[in-house]
Structures are given as structure tokens and as C-alpha cells.
């Protein structure tokens, strides 16, 4: 047996395969994605940097100690948190209904639930007035029966914020529920757990990260809400003047520096809170 006979007929020399599009040194990020990503990042971050650069650093300290600021900040954080609590309490069951129960008109209901997302917030405020205002469909009943009016109250602020922010939570939670494995709920049923127990001990814990993510979105949206708040709840310091309203009023009053200071405070507080939320609480396991 010679090597000549061993060579297969028609054997060819190996051809080098085409070189990779990008060299290994640049890592695994293709340029086609990197450039738009950086542009997007700049677009979102530069205005914030502008705020920081233009801030009246020389007078900042004395402005920070102005009495109204802390009141507005506290009011803002309280109302946003309460609005989130309301949204979770009402939104999670609604999301469950939309995700798990087949009922006629479900698609319409789902579309209606997302309407506050596309509605201009001021229009939302007007709509709330027409229903929950003193002369509104429900509001007049509340007024005559209980003497309760909602506009111009802090409760009104919470309602206005919940109205615009709840759809975020509902969408996030519905998505999580749809993606969840329903077989665990079957397993729980075979172990003797009734529907409420299953919901409480199995369904909710399994979608908890989705609920947390939705709640964060909801809180952030509620924090920044302006149009619905000023239309429905009005504008009064300490009661209904949240930070966004205070910024607007300060700006319209011609005090640009004051408005920047308020904006910076809101920016710092919200970034601190959002950044401190641990990733693992929000992303699914």
C-alpha cells in the first residue's frame, strides 16, 4: 500500500474559509448596533447633563433650604407611592382576569385598559373631573351622600396619578402571567389548594418579578405626572402641588434657575431610588 493509492480520487487541498466580518479584538458587539445605541444613549442623557451644567451652583445651597421644596418633595413621593399601591391592588387582579379568564369582549377590555396610555394626560384629568368631580357622574353622589369631594385633595392627586400609571402595571403583569407555567397551579390543586390559596401561594410568587417591574414603571410614571394632576386635583402647595407642578409654576413665573433646582432634586431622588432597586427583584429567575 503506497501513499499514492491512499489518496482519494478527486481530493482537494483545503480552502481557507472566509475571514470573520469583525475581528475578535473588538469584542462581540457589531458596529451596526453599537452606533444607534450610543446615539440613543446620548439623546436621553445629554438633556439631563444640560440640567446639571446649567444649575445655579452658587445659589444652590440657599435655594435648597427654601421651605416649600421639602413639602413638595414629600408630597410627590407619598402620592406616587400611594398611587402605585392602588395600582397594584387593583391592577394585579385585573391583569389576572385578562390573562387567565376567557370572557367575551376580552380584547376590547384589554384595549380600553391601555387607553390612559394614549390619552393626553390633561384629557385624562378632564375625564376624571367629569366622573369624579363635584358635579361628576359619581362625584356628585359622593358629595351628597358622604360629603366627600375628590378634586383639590391629595387623594385626588393619587387618583389622577393612578389613572395614568396603572396601565403600565397591568400590561407588565399580564405579560408575566401569560408567560407563567400554569402546570404549577394544577399541581397546587392536586395538593388540595383552593383557587385563592393557589393564587396567593403559587401564582403570585411565580410572577413576583413581573409585578415588581410593573410597579417600578408605575411608580416612575406617577412621579412625573403633570397634566392629569393639575387638571383634576388642581395646584396648591402642600396639598396638591407635586414637584412637576412646582417646576412648571416656577418656570412660568420666570424663575428658570428655581425650576432647574427643583428638577435636579427630582432627578437625583428618582435616580437614586430606581438605581437602588436590585436587578434580581425585577428580572425573572
Amino acid at each position: 500500500m503506497s501513499t499514492v493509492e491512499d489518496r482519494e480520487v478527486g481530493a482537494q487541498r483545503p480552502v481557507p474559509i472566509a475571514a470573520p466580518r469583525y475581528r475578535a479584538g473588538t469584542g462581540r458587539v457589531p458596529v451596526a448596533l453599537l452606533v444607534p445605541a450610543l446615539v440613543g444613549l446620548a439623546f436621553l442623557v445629554l438633556p439631563l447633563l444640560g440640567l446639571i451644567v446649567r444649575a445655579p451652583w452658587s445659589t444652590l445651597l440657599q435655594r435648597l433650604t427654601e421651605p416649600g421644596i421639602l413639602t413638595a418633595l414629600r408630597l410627590t413621593l407619598e402620592t406616587a407611592t400611594l398611587a402605585t399601591v392602588v395600582s397594584v391592588a387593583l391592577g394585579v387582579p385585573l391583569a389576572w382576569l385578562l390573562a387567565r379568564v376567557e370572557f367575551p369582549g376580552r380584547r376590547v377590555v384589554r384595549a380600553l385598559v391601555t387607553v390612559p396610555l394614549v390619552l393626553p394626560p390633561v384629557v385624562g384629568g378632564v375625564a376624571l373631573l367629569l366622573v369624579l368631580g363635584r358635579k361628576g357622574l359619581l362625584g356628585s353622589w359622593l358629595d351628597t351622600t358622604f360629603g366627600v369631594t375628590l378634586p383639590f385633595t391629595t387623594t385626588g392627586v393619587v387618583l389622577a396619578e393612578a389613572f395614568v400609571a396603572m396601565p403600565f402595571l397591568i400590561i407588565a403583569v399580564e405579560g408575566a402571567l401569560r408567560g407563567a407555567d400554569t402546570r404549577y397551579e394544577e399541581a397546587a390543586a392536586t395538593l388540595g389548594a383552593g383557587r385563592w390559596t393557589t393564587f396567593r401561594r403559587v401564582t403570585i410568587p411565580l410572577v413576583a418579578p413581573g409585578i415588581a417591574a410593573g410597579a417600578v414603571l408605575c411608580w416612575a410614571r406617577a412621579l412625573g405626572e403633570f397634566g392629569a394632576t393639575i387638571t383634576f386635583a388642581g395646584n396648591f402647595p402642600g396639598v396638591t402641588q407635586t414637584m412637576p407642578l412646582a417646576v412648571y409654576q416656577t418656570l412660568e413665573g420666570g424663575d428658570l434657575d428655581g425650576a432647574i433646582v427643583l428638577s435636579l432634586i427630582l432627578l437625583v431622588v428618582s435616580v437614586t431610588i430606581l438605581a437602588s432597586l436590585r436587578d434580581k427583584w425585577i428580572t425573572s429567575p
Binding site: 373631573l129 402647595p237 420666570g254
Partner: protein, 271 residues
């Protein structure tokens, strides 16, 4: 493959159409006329071109009427308005908003514009306005004067302090010795008025002109202290006015007999 490109083409066409339409439309909050924007200049019949007027909210109805009259008297002209709280307008002008004329509800707000060097010449006062108490039609809570506003259960809307009607209201309340806590501080007088119209508040301190303009929904109650807080309305052509000729013509028209007739009809007082 063809279907995909057709969809992309339609989408691109849609975007182009939207951009073109929005480009053609005016960039004002209310328009007093239609049609394309003609070039500035003077024709034999009067001035032409577009005039952008930033005016206090309380001037909405009267200036809109004056604008229509001006366009009729000056064919080829187009007046567009931006009605808002005077402080907001002053801020916008100082930030470089393109306006020809500024009509403020109080000298203080005009001062911020002149101090910033954005006025062309000195402002002229063209009307005065006085406050009334606006209540829902029929005066359900039986308000008779400023002191009634502090009765328990009475909700009052005021303008924010930096807005002319807010300053005037505070002056009047101080003069009457009434300490009032409103439920809301609105950004312009029309917002305060709309709260009364909606029935959300029992009273608001607005201008006589506003109450008159909304007479089908509200009653305007005079009160003596309003005389202590009369607002003078100055008006000026702006330094960076794109159409100065037409701007000056408009200012002149407002102060002409025809303009004055409209303003008096609305309830303004002579300066």
C-alpha cells in the same frame, strides 16, 4: 418580497405626509384666519403678512374678534394668537419665542420683557380690567362679597401669584382684610374660570371681561375692593418681531375706535 417593500413604502409615504401637513399648519395655539402665510409687506389696501400676537388669557375673546376685523381690513394679512398667562408668555418671549406683539394683563410681566431688552420702544397701556367674583349661574352658595369666600364649605379658585389676576386678587384681598385659602392656584385666568364653569369650585376671582364672556355659565359679582386692584394692560411691539410693519399696524388697530369698541363691549375699561 414585493409585499414587504410595499408596506415599507406606504409607511414612508405616511410619515412624509404627516411631516408635510404639520409643516404647513401654523405653530400657534389659536388662529384667527386660514390660508397660506403670505410674505410681509404693504399693499395698497393695508399691511400683509402674518402677525403673531402673544396676549394675556383674559384677552381671548376680544382679541380674537379684533384679529378677524384686522384681517378683513387688511386683506393678505393673517393674525395668529397665543393666549396664556402673562407670566408664561413673558418667559417664552424671553426664551426666544418668535412673536410680533405682546399684550400683558399687568405691567409687572411686561417689565420682565422690557428689562430683558426684548421690547421695541415703550409699551402703551390700552385697557384696564377689574376683578369680579365669578360664581356658578344662580349663585348657589349665596356669595355677596369677599368675606363670604371664607365661609366654611366654600371652595375658591385663584390665579397663581405670578399671574396678573393672581396679583390683583391678592391686592384686593389684602385691601379687604380677608385671609383666604384657595383650593387651587391656576396658571391663567381661563383655567380658574373653567373650574367655576365645571362646578368644581364655588367661586373664583376673575376679570369682569371673563365673567361677561362666559355669562351663560357664570354670574359675575362686583365687589368694592376690586377698585383697589385694577390691572392696566400694556402692549408692545417686540424687538425681534418678524413682521414689524404689520405688528405696528395691529397695535394701532387695537387702539383705534374699532378696536376700542370691541374691548369696551367685552367689559374692559378705558386706560
Amino acid at each position: 418580497m414585493i409585499a414587504r417593500w410595499t408596506r415599507v413604502g406606504v409607511a414612508a409615504l405616511g410619515v412624509a405626509v404627516v411631516l408635510a401637513v404639520s409643516g404647513c399648519g401654523g405653530n400657534s395655539t389659536t388662529g384667527a384666519g386660514g390660508g397660506a402665510s403670505p410674505q410681509p409687506g404693504t399693499s395698497s389696501a393695508g399691511v400683509t403678512g402674518s402677525v403673531t400676537v402673544f396676549a394675556a388669557a383674559s384677552l381671548t375673546e376680544s382679541f380674537t374678534q379684533i384679529g378677524k376685523d384686522f384681517e378683513a381690513a387688511n386683506p393678505g394679512s393673517k393674525v395668529t394668537f397665543n393666549f396664556a398667562g402673562s407670566s408664561a408668555l413673558a418667559t417664552q418671549i424671553n426664551q426666544g419665542a418668535p412673536a410680533d406683539v405682546f399684550a400683558s394683563a399687568a405691567p409687572a410681566n411686561m417689565k420682565t420683557v422690557t428689562d430683558a431688552g426684548n421690547a421695541d420702544g415703550s409699551p402703551t397701556t390700552f385697557v384696564k380690567n377689574q376683578l369680579v367674583i365669578a360664581v356658578p349661574k344662580g349663585n348657589p352658595k349665596g356669595i355677596t362679597g369677599l368675606s363670604d369666600l371664607t365661609k366654611p364649605g366654600v371652595k375658591v379658585a385663584l390665579c397663581a401669584a405670578q399671574v396678573p389676576c393672581g396679583t390683583a386678587a391678592n391686592t384686593a384681598l389684602t385691601a379687604a382684610g380677608v385671609k383666604l385659602t384657595p383650593v387651587t392656584l391656576e396658571q391663567d385666568v381661563k383655567s380658574a374660570l373653567s373650574k367655576v364653569k365645571l362646578g368644581e369650585v364655588d367661586a373664583a376671582l376673575v376679570y369682569r371681561t371673563d365673567a361677561k364672556a362666559a355669562s351663560s355659565d357664570v354670574d359675575g359679582l362686583e365687589f368694592p375692593e376690586s377698585a383697589k386692584a385694577i390691572n392696566e394692560y400694556p402692549m408692545v411691539v417686540l424687538k425681534n418681531a418678524p413682521n414689524k410693519t404689520a405688528a405696528q399696524a395691529f397695535v394701532a388697530y387695537v387702539q383705534s375706535d374699532k378696536g376700542k369698541a370691541v374691548l369696551t363691549q367685552a367689559g374692559f375699561q378705558a386706560p
